[in-house]
C-alpha cells in the first residue's frame, strides 16, 4: 500500500475531523426538529456515551492495524481521535450533570457513590482528563518515558467504559457485548504481539 503524501494526510485528517463531528451535528439537527424521541435526555446521554466509546475503540484500533499489516500512517490521527473521545465523554458528562440532574450535586454524589455503573463511568471520565491535558507535544517531551506509562491508562479507561455500558443495560446485553468483543480483540492483538516480541 502506498504511503499517502503529507498533503493527503492533511486532507484525510480534515475529513476525519468533520466525520467525528457528525454525531454532534445529528443531535443538534434532531433537537432542532424535536425528534430526540419521547425521552430526549436519555437519548442524548446514550448517544454521546456510545460515541465516546466507539471513537475510543477506533483510536485503539490504530496500533493493531500497524501490528497486523505494517501500515503505520494512521497513527498520525490517533491523538485527534483520542481527543474526540474526550470531547464526547465531556458532552456525556455535561448531559448527566446538567440535563439529567440539573446540578443537584448531592444527588449526583450519591448516585456516583451508590451505583457501580455510574462509578465506573465517572472513573473512566476522570482518568481521561490527564490524558487529554498531556496530549500536546510539549507535555510529551516533558514527561518522556512517564508519558507513555501515563497514556497506558487508556486501556483501563476502555475497560471501564465497556463495563459502564454493560452494567447499565437491564437485560439485553447484545449491544455492550459488541463493544466488549471488539475491545477484547484489540487488546488481544496487542498482548499477542507483546509476548511474541518479548519471547524472542
Amino acid at each position: 500500500m502506498k504511503i499517502p503524501s503529507k498533503q493527503q494526510i492533511a486532507r484525510i485528517k480534515a475529513g476525519l475531523f468533520i466525520a467525528a463531528l457528525i454525531p454532534l451535528a445529528r443531535l443538534v439537527w434532531l433537537g432542532v426538529h424535536d425528534a430526540l424521541t419521547a425521552n430526549p435526555v436519555e437519548f442524548v446521554e446514550r448517544s454521546t456515551g456510545t460515541w465516546a466509546l466507539a471513537i475510543l475503540l477506533i483510536t485503539l484500533a490504530m496500533t493493531p492495524i500497524k501490528l497486523l499489516t505494517g501500515v503505520a500512517w494512521q497513527i498520525q490521527f490517533r491523538r485527534m481521535m483520542g481527543l474526540f473521545m474526550f470531547f464526547y465523554a465531556c458532552l456525556h458528562f455535561i448531559t448527566y450533570v446538567w440535563l439529567d440532574h440539573w446540578f443537584a450535586w448531592v444527588d449526583i454524589a450519591k448516585d456516583i457513590a451508590k451505583h457501580p455503573y455510574v462509578l465506573v463511568g465517572f472513573s473512566a471520565f476522570i482518568l481521561s482528563i490527564p490524558l487529554a491535558v498531556t496530549s500536546n507535544k510539549a507535555m510529551m517531551q516533558r514527561l518522556r518515558e512517564r508519558w507513555k506509562k501515563l497514556h497506558q491508562l487508556v486501556y483501563v479507561i476502555a475497560i471501564l467504559g465497556v463495563v459502564h455500558f454493560w452494567w447499565l443495560v437491564k437485560k439485553d446485553i447484545r449491544e455492550p457485548l459488541i463493544y466488549a468483543v471488539i475491545l477484547a480483540v484489540l487488546l488481544g492483538i496487542r498482548i499477542y504481539f507483546y509476548y511474541k516480541k518479548t519471547r524472542k
Binding site: G31, N39, D107, H115, Y117, K171, R174
Partner: protein
C-alpha cells in the same frame, strides 16, 4: 452468551401476507366491535381502512366508549404519540421503538383467556365475554417505569376485582398469576431468549382485589394498540410498570407466590412486589426521582412518590411489611 436465531420468514414472504392479514384483522375487529355492542363505536379510521391501500398502512385505530371517572383529574396527560411509541414490551424487541414498529402482525382478535387454578371451575373466556363482565371505565393513572421515567395515561378498562369475582376463586387462592402471549411468529422478540418466555407476572389476591387494579382494553378513548398490550393488559399504578402484564392469555389462581419473569431474570434487582418506592433504590440506579415523558430536553426530574402517589388507596396492603426486604 446469547444465541440469536434468524427469522425463518423472509421479507418477500411477509409483504403480500400483510395485505391479507390486515383484511382478516379488519373483519375480526369488526366482529369484536359488533359483539361488544353499544360500548364500542366504529371510528372513521375503520371505514377508510376498508380501502385496500389504506389497509396496508398503519394499524387501524378504533374508538372505544367508556364511562368517565374522577381518577387522575387535573393530571397533564402524556401525548398519545409518546404513549404509543415509547414502550417496554420485550416480546417485540428490547428497544423502546420496537413495539410500535414490530407489533403490526400481532393479532389481538380473536382472543380467549384461560382462567384456571384454584377456581370453582376452570374456563376459557373470549375477550368479548370479558368485556361484558363490567362496564368499561376511563381512568387516568400515573405509570412509573422501573427505569425512572413516567407517564400519565388515560386507560380504559374494567376493575380486576370484577374479573376475579367472575372467576370464582376457591379458598386456596392466595395469589393470581398472569401469563402473556409468546408467539414467535408474530412477536419477534420472543425468538431471542432475553427473558424466560412466556412473560409471567403476579399479584397477591388482596392486591389484585384493590379497586385501583385495572384490566385495560383501551387508552385515549380507543381500543388498546398492539404495542401497549392488546387486547388486554394489567395496570397496577402503584407498582413499577413491568408488573403490568400485556396480552394476557392465562390467569391462574395459586396458593404459592408466582415466580415472575423479572424475578427469574434478576432476583436481586426485581422483586415480587415491585411497589414504587423512592426510598429503596434499584441496585443499579436511583428510584428517588423520575423523568416525566414529554417534558423535553430541558425539563428537570420530578420527585418519585411512595406507591407512585397512591398510598391512600393501597398503603394498608403493606402495613407491617419490611418494604426494603419485600422490594
Amino acid at each position: 452468551m446469547l444465541i440469536l436465531k434468524k427469522s425463518d420468514i423472509t421479507p418477500s414472504e411477509i409483504t403480500p401476507r400483510e395485505v391479507f392479514e390486515n383484511r382478516k384483522e379488519l373483519e375480526h375487529r369488526r366482529e369484536f366491535i359488533k359483539t361488544a355492542g353499544a360500548g364500542l363505536i366504529a371510528g372513521a379510521a375503520l371505514a377508510t381502512g376498508l380501502l385496500p391501500r389504506q389497509a396496508q398502512a398503519a394499524v387501524q385505530r378504533q374508538k372505544l366508549a367508556a364511562g368517565k371517572t374522577a381518577f387522575g383529574a387535573g393530571e397533564k396527560l402524556t401525548s398519545y404519540e409518546d404513549v404509543t411509541t415509547y414502550n417496554n414490551y420485550y416480546e417485540f424487541g428490547t428497544s423502546k421503538s420496537d413495539p410500535a414498529a414490530e407489533s403490526k402482525f400481532f393479532k389481538p382478535s380473536p382472543w380467549t383467556v384461560s382462567i384456571e387454578g384454584a377456581v370453582k371451575k376452570a374456563k376459557t373466556v373470549s375477550i368479548e365475554d370479558i368485556l361484558k363482565i363490567a362496564p368499561l371505565e376511563e381512568r387516568i393513572y400515573r405509570m412509573r417505569c422501573v427505569e425512572a421515567w413516567s407517564m400519565v395515561i388515560p386507560w380504559i378498562g374494567l376493575p380486576l376485582a370484577q374479573l376475579i369475582k367472575f372467576a370464582e376463586p376457591t379458598g386456596n387462592a392466595k395469589y393470581i398469576e398472569f401469563i402473556s402471549a409468546a408467539d414467535p411468529q408474530t412477536m419477534p422478540g420472543v425468538r431471542v431468549p432475553v427473558l424466560d418466555w412466556p412473560y409471567v407476572e403476579g399479584l397477591r389476591l388482596d392486591e389484585a382485589m384493590n379497586p385501583l387494579a385495572l384490566l385495560a382494553v383501551g387508552l385515549y378513548g380507543e381500543v388498546l394498540p398492539n404495542q401497549n398490550g392488546a387486547p388486554m393488559r394489567l395496570v397496577v399504578p402503584w407498582k413499577y410498570g413491568f408488573k403490568g402484564a400485556k396480552a394476557i392469555v392465562k390467569i391462574r389462581f395459586t396458593d404459592t407466590m408466582p415466580k415472575t419473569a423479572w424475578m427469574k431474570a434478576g432476583p436481586s434487582e426485581y422483586g415480587f412486589y415491585a411497589n414504587v418506592n423512592p426510598t429503596v433504590d434499584h441496585p443499579r440506579w436511583t428510584q428517588a426521582s423520575e423523568r416525566r415523558i414529554g417534558g423535553g430536553l430541558f425539563s428537570p426530574r420530578i420527585k418519585t412518590q411512595m406507591f407512585n402517589g397512591y398510598t391512600e388507596q393501597v398503603g394498608q396492603l403493606y402495613a407491617g411489611m419490611d418494604l426494603r426486604k419485600n422490594f
